[in-house]
């Protein structure tokens, strides 16, 4: 199929690869960026007038739960990737805590078939560290890698067994696979529901200590140092974890980290009132942590912003707080939340934002995305930076509606999402 030529005219081009921030045109041909700069005289099938708009690489969201196979009532690869397009995301790393879990080449095959048939964007594959995510027996890590997994994780849980985790890191190191750590010591977090502290006291709910997170981050970093494995800390939520990661980076340990929009936007006081859409794991932390997360992003200690998009049916959310499921959706709001909370107040520049949402995660995953240089695949998002919109439940394209940003006014609207050189979504 011959692909159309698309010209994006006169936008502010933000390319984190080479710190490029200039007004100009981008020409797309055959799925690639063929020309950047002044494209006067070029003919195109489609012209996107981008004056006053931001043109940057589409998001690479490295932490997404698409729920398929297994919980197609909450989300499918088709619905999740449609939601992603609306949010300006064209690559996602699908978390393997599906049913069946992605713990074998056979299950990768099963998932790949669904992706091939139904995905609207690129869905990247992540395998599990242990079989069935039980934390008891290692998956065949080399086989997962050979079959196309870009990383392994038992996300949802941490592997408690130190010896087993050490072996996993050694295996991953051997075959050059990234290990994504959901760092949580369940013995410490127990059946807590909110951040431990005055908030848990006020609500009369069991608390989840910060210690349950950062002690496990410290263990995982220590193991990375010892084995030389490349690791990535998922959903960093507290100050102490950032400090540990900063020290590890100084020591040149191969660690990267991500946080999610809710951790730099909301603090645990948002839970007062028992809104189960404010329940996630790790939980919303204190104000001090929220500030530390922003600072961590600004300094680049936290490399990436990822949604931890976690769809849940209303029957799992509209119940008693302590019984309600952890997690929120985020694909459709993450970019706008990041613009509103980070770019707008001057915490991150557009370039820094583009690094956190596309360039860095692409690099961490080892894929050729997150840039707008000539010859790069045309994965582009065009944003109307000053356009305001309100998050509405009815507007979500995701099958689930469990957003912690309902009714929030956001600044920055995705108006075009281009994937493989084609406009896949436009407002």
């Amino acid at each position: 199929m011959a692909k159309k030529r698309i010209l994006i005219k006169g936008g502010r081009i933000i390319d984190p690869d080479g710190d490029f921030d200039q007004i100009g045109d981008i020409l797309i041909e055959d799925g690639l960026i063929s020309h950047r700069g002044d494209a006067q005289g070029s003919s195109a099938d489609t012209v996107i007038e981008a004056k006053g708009k931001i043109v940057m690489p589409a998001m690479v969201d490295m932490h997404v739960h698409l729920r398929e196979p297994g919980r197609e009532d909450k989300e499918t690869i088709a619905s999740g990737t449609t939601a992603a397009l609306r949010g300006g995301v064209t690559s996602v790393l699908a978390m393997p805590n599906t049913n069946p879990a992605i713990d074998s080449p056979e299950h990768i095959e099963l998932l790949s078939q669904i992706i091939k048939k139904t995905a609207h964007i690129e869905v990247l594959i992540c395998g599990t560290i242990t079989k069935k995510r039980e934390g008891l027996e290692l998956s065949d890590i080399t086989a997962l890698k050979k079959k196309g997994a870009l990383a392994i994780t038992d996300d949802g849980s941490s592997v408690d067994d130190l010896e087993l985790m050490r072996k996993a890191f050694q295996e991953a190191k051997k075959c050059g696979l990234l290990v994504i750590c959901h760092s949580e010591d369940k013995k410490l977090s127990g059946d807590g529901a909110v951040n431990l502290g005055f908030t848990s006291t006020r609500l009369g709910l069991k608390g989840i200590s910060k210690e349950s997170e950062y002690k496990r981050v410290a263990r995982d970093v220590e193991l990375a140092k010892e084995t030389g494995a490349r690791i990535h800390i998922a959903h960093v939520s507290c100050k102490e974890s950032i400090e540990i990661i900063a020290r590890a980076k100084q020591q040149k340990i191969a660690v990267s980290a991500e946080t999610a929009p809710h951790y730099f936007t909301l603090c645990d006081q948002a839970v007062l009132g028992f809104d189960t859409n404010m329940k996630m794991n790790p939980p919303l932390r204190g104000k001090e942590d929220l500030e530390a997360i922003k600072e961590g992003l600004r300094q680049g200690i936290i490399d990436a912003i990822a949604s931890d998009h976690a769809p849940h049916a209303s029957s799992e959310k509209d119940i008693e707080f302590d019984r309600a499921a952890f997690g929120v959706i985020g694909l459709e709001t993450e970019l706008a939340v990041a613009i509103t909370e980070l770019v707008e107040p001057g915490i991150l520049s557009w370039l820094q934002l583009a690094k956190a949402v596309s360039y860095n995660p692409a690099k961490i995953l080892g894929i050729d995305k997150g840039k707008l240089s000539v010859g790069s695949p045309a994965e582009i998002v065009v944003i109307s930076p000053d356009q305001e919109w309100v998050v509405r439940k009815e507007a979500f394209l995701s099958k689930s509606k469990n957003s912690c940003f309902l009714e929030k006014k956001l600044k920055g609207q995705v108006i075009y999402t281009i994937h493989q050189g084609q406009v896949k979504w436009s407002l």
Partner: protein
């Protein structure tokens, strides 16, 4: 003032003015209940449903008597928290009750936030009769009512709350109510039973009972629920009595006219000795009597607020 809240879910979100208003209203209802004919027609034609997911004869009966004295019809539902996911949810149950044209739902539930959740989804008035460890607003209101009746004021009083604060909704509601009204509150418990950050409410914390007793104008002694001790955090019952139990001997060092309260039911010989429970300082039975007046006030007031609006944002 005019009462605007559709629901009574907690004391944390109430203003001082609202607290005073409930207490004043309760005082006028207490006067009514002292008469020969104890009934008033204030809620005639209204239906009050007591939806209790935890067995609590005292609170349920107290609400029932209160509602009947206001001439309301009362329906009691003893429900069970379904452990199976497929069971009817709390919201379903609430909506079903509402469909039966209930006007006020009084709910007791083991989950913190259960009353708030119902209130968000229902047009009926919701009164929290205790949710998990969160709040038990009418219990604290009746404690404060009793205290004020006994000592004439709340402002400036020194009140010590003794026992398992961490797992107590009674303690939380008392802390919010008392501190808002200007009392100086001290919490006394083994430190592992003090919840984190509680000092931010303005209370003092100690694990020295003699200190908690020494200057107190009143003490509120909580029921120790040893059966709830999952984590093994509690001391043994006899050990607890030795260190934190209220005995006549211990009270010798306190103010002579110290007011002794307990939300009931009492574990005699664990939180306090029988001599103290039945002694001259004890107001435990007056608390029970006042509970009716306070609950009449709360039922009456929420019924004044417009039905059909969304819950207050508390």
């Amino acid at each position: 003032m005019r009462w605007k809240r559709k629901d009574l879910l907690d004391l944390e979100s109430l203003s001082l003015q609202e607290l005073e208003y409930i207490l004043t209203t309760a005082a006028s209802f207490k006067e009514v209940t002292g008469r020969q004919i104890k009934k008033v027609p204030a809620l005639r034609g209204k239906t009050v449903v007591n939806l209790f997911y935890e067995p609590s004869t005292r609170t349920r009966v107290s609400f029932e008597v209160a509602a009947k004295r206001l001439s309301a019809d009362v329906i009691n539902i003893a429900a069970e928290v379904s452990s199976v996911k497929k069971g009817e949810t709390l919201i379903d149950t609430g909506k079903n009750i509402e469909a039966l044209k209930a006007d006020i739902i009084v709910v007791r539930h083991s989950a913190s936030g259960a009353a708030a959740m119902l209130a968000r989804h229902l047009k009926a008035n919701v009164i929290n009769a205790g949710d998990g460890w969160h709040e038990h607003p009418t219990q604290a209101l009746l404690d404060i009512f009793t205290l004020r009746e006994k000592l004439g004021r709340i402002e400036g009083l020194k009140v010590s709350i003794i026992g398992d604060i961490a797992h107590s909704r009674v303690a939380r509601s008392n802390i919010w109510g008392l501190t808002k009204m200007g009392a100086k509150v001290t919490l006394c418990a083994p430190l592992m039973l003090i919840p984190p950050g509680i000092e931010e409410t303005g209370v003092k914390v100690t694990d020295d009972l003699d200190q908690a007793l020494s200057e107190a104008d009143a003490i509120n002694v909580l029921r120790m629920q040893f059966e709830r001790d999952e984590a093994g955090a509690f001391p043994k019952a006899w050990e607890y009595f030795k260190t934190f139990g209220i005995t006549e001997e211990r009270l010798q060092k306190a103010k002579k006219d110290i007011v002794v309260m307990h939300p009931g039911p009492i574990n005699r010989g664990i939180e306090m000795s029988s001599e103290v429970a039945d002694g001259v300082n004890s107001v435990i039975l007056e608390q029970v009597t006042n509970g009716i007046a306070v609950r009449m006030a709360v039922l009456f007031l929420v019924a004044q607020a417009k039905n059909g609006k969304k819950a207050n944002s508390n």
